[in-house]
């Protein structure tokens, strides 16, 4: 009875339908307790709220212009949009009238600021009013609109208040008149993708296909010749070649999106584009987009992704460089980029569960993305290197504050990434203590997931149904999860018989009280990088389940590059880390070079002595939550660990 993969349309569960506890619950508590308010406070401190307060004079240019793309002030609407989105999700978990009132006040200001025709942008209404739509390549207008749309959708869903949603519908309706191939219309698209995926959200919440069509227009136009960015530059009296980023690859606008085969340019932009493409592929069942996305997916994940799911190694373009170029200490690997990879991966699941995407989603989420937020929810990483000599630390704010609200809104809405539903199927992409409520096959289902995952691999499901119903429950079996077992109501299930695309698919008539036991062994394993990754040669990274581990000086003292992995890390002892919510450390047999008895010389003809030792590894996303110091993911792998 199951449909073919092509026809299936899976949509994430709405945020309020999933109630979380465990690790994700703790992160959401930190966001409710600290991050949501912190974001708002710092937006106020930066002057973002004054910037949209029409009762006060325009603040003008608050911080110095960047040579490359105007000022980060030009993107302030996006930071407010993401903050409102975070606040919205946090209100589900914990009502907070003060925070809600602050969001309402901001929304009122946007209402007052909005132009009669629907246009809305703090910079181009208040600082450079004459420059509207003159430079889509650099000016971030549609990017800002996209984040305000996402905020509006989330806030409407969380509070039932339509004001911001109506504002953004008016803006989107105006956009429909501005963009197109008609007389006087612009056949353009934004230099920083984002509005595409936002318009899909707007269409889904309003049921208005016109917003989908606009998103599809932006995607279809991108990279076509004659090139819009070139034409608009000429129209605007600018030299099209005077583009600091040199190539339209930076904006993924170097060729039509369906012809793109290599992941290039600014990493966050790329992820947002592919997310929008995947949404449109799902909504229009557009296989031409899906084919391009599958090629790009392989290109990214097989040649350009850190083991943490971090992407975009270079600071110079905040993005991609060459294949297999993955420097560890200088890794840019922006938090936003890993968040974007989670967005994209999640949307690749729109056409059906496939662990090819869900495994990476989990890897990027737990490592490259979650590292961006401290345990207390108050400090942030922008760059996420895989090695630090001890000077890379979380900060309280950033001149370009894109990452804090991005990781916050992802974690605050993570329930919707865990579960997805089609007509007669529910997929569990991520594991974690939670309850999901959904209508499926005409019945009301509450699916309770009980587990200490990712610290323990025992996962129990119990279904509560208002009536028996026939549907499929699809459970992801991660590629790394050797030895996994599954039982339904105590009866073992042959995984090889039921696993499709890496998901155990249990299709049956489900009744209230039905129980599923999934046991995923969480054994530490050493990973080795493709020999083309020069930076990781002779080294190994430890993983346990979806978590990448690292060594920190606070546990191990300095000189982390003097540690050599010996033997099989599967023998590592798991120990709970104090004050870390039950997180598991790994104590692993290693050898350590001796720096103490080396002497004074810088170079000599005999290698350092070494001794047997135990090193403590902690999950990468938890680093820099204690004493500052060195950190290292890729440790040297001795001949025994390498089997040489």
């Amino acid at each position: 009875m199951s449909k073919t993969r092509k026809d299936r349309q899976f949509r994430p569960l709405p945020v309020p339908n999933v109630e979380l506890d465990g690790l994700f619950g703790a992160r959401q508590d930190a966001i409710c307790d600290s991050t949501a308010e912190t974001l708002l406070d710092r937006c106020v401190e930066a002057g973002m709220v004054r910037a949209i307060d029409t009762s006060q004079p325009s603040p003008g240019i608050v911080i110095p212009l960047q040579p490359w793309a105007g000022s980060t002030q030009m993107f302030w609407d996006s930071d407010l949009g993401k903050s409102i989105e975070t606040i919205a999700y946090s209100l589900y978990r914990r009502p907070n009238p003060k925070l809600e009132a602050s969001a309402d006040a901001i929304i009122d200001m946007y209402e007052k600021m909005q132009d009669k025709d629907g246009y809305l942008n703090a910079w181009f209404q208040r600082v450079q009013p004459g420059r509207r739509w003159t430079n889509l390549r650099d000016h971030h207008e549609l990017y800002c609109a996209g984040h305000l749309i996402e905020g509006a959708v989330a806030y409407y869903q969380a509070t039932g208040k339509r004001k911001l949603l109506d504002i953004m519908c008016r803006y989107a309706d105006y956009m429909i008149t501005v963009f197109g191939h008609g007389e006087g219309q612009l056949p353009g698209y934004c230099g920083h993708e984002e509005v595409e995926l936002a318009l899909v959200k707007l269409a889904r919440v309003t049921g208005e296909k016109k917003y989908l069509d606009l998103a599809k227009f932006f995607i279809d136009e991108r990279g076509r010749e004659p090139h819009f960015f070139t034409e608009e530059a000429l129209r605007d009296g600018r030299d099209p070649k005077a583009f600091i980023q040199k190539t339209y690859q930076y904006n993924q606008a170097h060729e039509p999106v369906r012809e793109q085969t290599k992941v290039v340019g600014h990493a966050v932009r790329a992820m947002y584009l592919y997310s929008g493409m995947a949404d449109i592929a799902t909504e229009y069942n557009d296989d031409t987009l899906t084919a391009a996305l599958e090629t790009l997916w392989d290109d990214l994940t097989a040649k350009q992704m850190y083991v943490t799911g971090g992407i975009g190694p270079a600071a110079s373009n905040e993005g991609f460089t060459d294949y297999y170029d993955l420097p560890n200490e200088s890794a840019y690997a922006e938090t936003c980029a890993s968040v974007g990879l989670v967005f994209w991966a999640n949307r690749m699941l729109g056409r059906g569960p496939d662990r090819r995407y869900a495994d990476i989603m989990e890897q990027a989420l737990y490592n490259g993305a979650m590292s961006g937020l401290s345990l207390d929810g108050k400090t942030f990483f922008y760059e996420n290197p895989l090695e630090s000599a001890g000077k890379h630390h979380r900060w309280t704010w950033h001149h370009c504050p894109c990452c804090p609200p991005n990781i916050a809104r992802l974690l605050a809405s993570i329930g919707s990434y865990m579960y997805a539903v089609a007509d007669d199927e529910i997929a569990v992409h991520l594991y974690g203590e939670s309850k999901a409520k959904v209508e499926i096959a005409g019945a009301k289902l509450e699916l309770a997931q009980t587990t200490r995952y990712p610290w323990d691999g025992a996962i129990r499901f119990e279904a509560t149904l208002d009536k028996p119903a026939r549907f499929a429950l699809s459970l992801r079996i991660p590629e790394w999860a050797e030895g996994t077992t599954l039982a339904v109501n105590g009866e073992a299930v042959d995984l090889t018989a039921v696993t499709v695309d890496g998901y155990a698919r249990i299709e049956r008539e489900w009744r209230s009280g039905d129980r599923v036991a999934l046991d995923i062994p969480l054994t530490a394993r050493a990973l080795f990088a493709n020999p083309n990754v020069r930076q990781d040669a002779g080294r190994a990274a430890l993983m346990r389940g979806p978590l990448v581990y690292c060594v920190e000086a606070t546990d191990n003292g300095a000189g982390l590059n003097g540690i050599t992995l010996v033997g099989d890390p599967a023998a590592a002892k798991g120990t709970e880390i104090p004050d870390f919510d039950g997180a598991i450390a790994l104590d692993v047999a290693v050898q350590r070079d001796q720096a103490e008895d080396w002497g004074k010389s810088l170079y000599r003809t005999s290698p350092p002595a070494s001794h047997d030792a135990t090193a403590r590894f902690i999950p990468y996303h938890l680093w820099d939550n204690r004493e500052p110091g060195e950190m290292l993911v890729w440790i040297r792998a001795g001949h025994r660990a390498r089997g040489v």
Copy 2:
């Protein structure tokens, strides 16, 4: 009869007194054939000559201002000075009337441009005439003067023409009126050291102690409180804290020079300062300076120096960072900085031969410095990384063209670094096919050195004397030179009995026809870095004699980080490299990771397979002289190579 170390004053042999062949001879031929003229051509192309041509209007600002220190155009006098110096040395080896005429024309222009009071500076006479002496911290006026003085001294010695020397004496006489503690005088010094060592050269060639005194004044004033840079900024209406480099450590002006214990800031500036300090220590027998220099020497060579003798790892300050921070791929290690280290090391020998300095001088010369010039003398390195993924290549010119004339003038005058004389002693610091002429102990000595060093360790000396004379011949026995033997007129000398500070000191009555045979075994050896150098952990560098070796893709294919050294490199086979003037490559037993059969995945749980192979190592300074590609110095060291 030998004096104590303290009282000895060794001075380098004048450039024309040493005639070179062999490796250095070939480099000098390339400079005569190409570099000297290339330098001049490119100075003309850049507009440097037009800038001092008072018959033409001031060129104004030719290239965009740098935010940190004005424009590189502000240093153009220094580039012309170093080019004239290079031309001067090249004229000894090969008369070149055309080149000499070009230099004469430039000197005529300087004569016309010089102010009545003696002041001379293209920028502050022609571009910003009102700004003379207003910002010593940033404006490079004395730095430019210093290079013109060095050029003047060299040109006078090479051609006998005094014009530029007289110009610079007038300028230096004017400086004496400007700087001092008297009424209306400036108690200042230059933000970029250089004039100090130049004034010593001027004093030595003119016999005028007043120039020494001015050099000593600059050195003594440096870093004193109240701080000159702060006071001059306030006088000039600038905020002293608005210093892009943040700290006076950048200029080694953070404390008085005799109190400095750590090598900090801009690497070239540091080397030039220490060179000047060493000269003054020699000229004034100033032990307080010597003590400070010895501390700084250990600080640099035991904690902050690449194995190539490259120094200053960071691009941000073109200088030093933290102890043991020696990144290989991103190494700045400016050619000029290694050249500066050779200058400093050579001057540390002014108080007597000591291999502590001479070994490093040789190491920096043959590796970090000589890498800066291509074999054909036409292209240059500014940065000298110890690893390249294949995109770092020699260029024909640079917006800040300090390095090409610097390495050129060093190599063109290298004879004076090889030999030094005191009253009754001659020291041979560097080996190489050459003839040195010197008056010593009342006799005329011609010392012929016959050798293929550094390719072969057999070194033969023959003395020709107009009469027998008693003096000491001191021959450096490098610290790495295990098993060295020495014979005088065929009779073996017990090295342990005659070696002082790493020099075999043969004091006797020398007669014409006396022969010395020095045999230094050149066996390849693996070097290991102090475990505190995180970037080199688990790796080894190969050296043979003074030469650091590297692997290049053109010999070994790509994937150099997949190479692991196994076994003892002493067993390596030496082979002559085609078309490289007899240079010796080393063919070494290694293991190589197999990238071919790895498959498509980026990460996996089993390490790559590896196979036994032979890798070809070539001298580091010769890299990027053939097909472009990857390069690597520090290769992985297997457990057998590490004796684990």
